[in-house]
């Protein structure tokens, strides 16, 4: 095993180009467990801790440009207004110690369906900026997850930033685990209201081979809200709309039975979370209309 310690982003890209099998390590949450438990012996470890730009974020007009290694703790503390869904999701990640080191880049790199950030990114809308010595490109988050623990990265590419749409409405995030803290998702659900475009976006975690959006549920809800004039009136969403939205969200799942939960439960729980998060965000939208901060 070789330990590569690039001092700059350019050096990191060069190292990755030279050693495409190199495993990037930043927060260590996934990689070190695999090493400690002898599940993985990469030829090269590529340490990204020394690259400052990965730990920076910038709030722009439309987007937040979030460095891949910005720790979840920082997202919780500093980006609650701009990225309320992701801030809430960050708060559910593992433990305070892990949140101090892990970042969204790790979730994306591992691309486990159980990664906590995915549903929030899917719901908010985001693009992943990846780069190699060949150049950089933006991968829409919807196209990023390609299979179980597989993503759209090329072997020589590294994740640099995630450009996440700034919240233009309330966002929520829920995750079911069988413990009240420090738990891997049995399943998770993210929901974002986008009043500017009068759309609702969603994200489902741990209930399909990849993180997915509940597209049919979104389309149904978008249409129902539009038809009923809910966006203008801000009136309470009828139980039947919420119910059907929840059922469609359940239907978007394609889960498995495993030690963490049954497929049947995952479908059921996603439905409940869909209904609740819709209720919470809509209440926020109706109430202050613009209280966007997640209670992270």
């Amino acid at each position: 095993m070789d330990f590569l310690r690039p001092a700059s982003w350019e050096e990191a890209l060069a190292a990755k180009a030279e050693h495409p099998t190199a495993v990037p390590i930043a927060g260590g949450t996934d990689v070190m467990v695999e090493i400690n438990f002898d599940h993985r012996r990469p030829e090269y470890l590529l340490d990204l801790n020394r690259i400052e730009l990965l730990r920076e974020w910038e709030v722009g007009e439309e987007n937040v440009r979030l460095g891949a290694s910005v720790p979840y703790t920082q997202i919780m503390e500093h980006l609650r207004a701009e990225l309320p869904g992701l801030a809430l999701a960050s708060h559910t990640v593992a433990s305070p110690q892990i949140r101090n080191r892990g970042g969204v880049g790790g979730n994306l790199g591992t691309a486990s369906p159980a990664g906590d950030a995915h549903p929030a990114l899917l719901a908010a809308g985001a693009e992943v900026e990846v780069e190699s010595v060949r150049g950089s490109r933006f991968i829409p988050i919807d196209a990023f997850y390609t299979g179980v623990k597989r993503n759209a990265l090329q072997p020589d590419e590294l994740i640099k930033t995630v450009h996440i749409k700034k919240a233009d409405g309330p966002q929520q995030y829920s995750k079911v685990g069988t413990r009240n803290a420090m738990v891997i998702a049995v399943c998770a659900f993210g929901l974002a209201l986008h009043p500017e475009t009068r759309t609702v976006r969603t994200g489902i975690g741990s209930a399909a081979p990849t993180p997915v959006r509940a597209r049919e549920a979104e389309e149904f809800l978008n249409a129902a809200l539009e038809e009923g004039g809910f966006w203008e009136s801000g009136k309470i969403i009828t139980p039947s709309i919420a119910k059907q939205f929840a059922e469609l969200a359940s239907g978007a799942c394609n889960p498995i039975d495993d030690v963490r939960g049954t497929a049947k439960y995952r479908r059921h729980a996603v439905g409940i979370m869909a209904r609740r998060t819709l209720g919470w965000t809509w209440e926020q939208y109706r109430g202050t209309g613009r209280t966007l901060e997640g209670a992270a």
């Binding site: 095993m1 070190m32 467990v33 438990f37 433990s95 110690q97 101090n100």
Partner: protein, 205 residues
């Protein structure tokens, strides 16, 4: 590979480090600092918690090579760290410490008491303790003690950020540290006790 970093204010060098080694392994097996504990090695128990540039992290999930040039505080250095903090006016009461870490200058101003030292080698009596360490003893928060070092580092850092935590704040801050013996009640007592003593001390000053 070789790794140079600072532990408890002292420069350290580890040689012939296997690239897959964790910071925890280097501390325990190469630097003679076994205080940080190896309970799960998967970031699920917090027993190996240390401060890396001021921030509490699981040292089992930090690759040894990642600490090159950085500063680590372990339970062995906690008393001295707390003492320095108190003597320098509790500069961390602002909550800024967690973000900024310990400055190099600050880190170099102190170093851990050599083990053995003036303390009784068997009972450790006479050792100078930080308020959180003393509170853990006084409140009965220590049973087998395996989770204790990690809890102390995490609790000390929380009190630095949040000197008057609510019970739910304490629970949240310590939710990454498993304890199998105590049922956590005495640990909560200990943190409350340390916070109260800290407050009284603050008032006295």
């Amino acid at each position: 590979m070789r790794v140079n970093f600072t532990v408890n204010g002292r420069p350290q060098e580890a040689d012939d480090v296997w690239e897959g080694e964790s910071l925890l392994y280097v501390l325990r097996e190469r630097l003679g600092l076994p205080g940080s504990k190896n309970a799960c090695e998967q970031g699920e128990c917090g027993s190996c918690t240390v401060r890396l540039d001021g921030v509490p992290v699981c040292s089992c999930l930090v690759a040894a090579g990642q600490v090159e040039g950085r500063e680590v505080v372990t339970v062995e250095g906690l008393a001295e760290y707390a003492k320095q903090r108190a003597e320098h006016g509790g500069a961390c009461g602002t909550g800024a410490c967690g973000d900024n870490g310990t400055s190099l200058q600050a880190a170099q101003q102190w170093s851990a008491r050599p083990s053995g030292g003036a303390a009784d080698s068997r009972t450790g009596e006479g050792a100078e303790l930080s308020p959180i360490q003393q509170a853990f003893i006084d409140a009965g928060a220590v049973q087998c003690g395996f989770c204790t070092p990690g809890l102390l580092v995490a609790a000390d850092e929380m009190l630095e950020r949040n000197p008057s935590p609510s019970d739910e704040d304490i629970r949240e801050a310590l939710s990454g540290n498993l304890c199998r013996c105590t049922g956590y009640e005495k640990i909560l007592d200990a943190v409350r006790l340390a916070a109260a003593r800290q407050e009284r001390q603050g008032e006295a000053v």
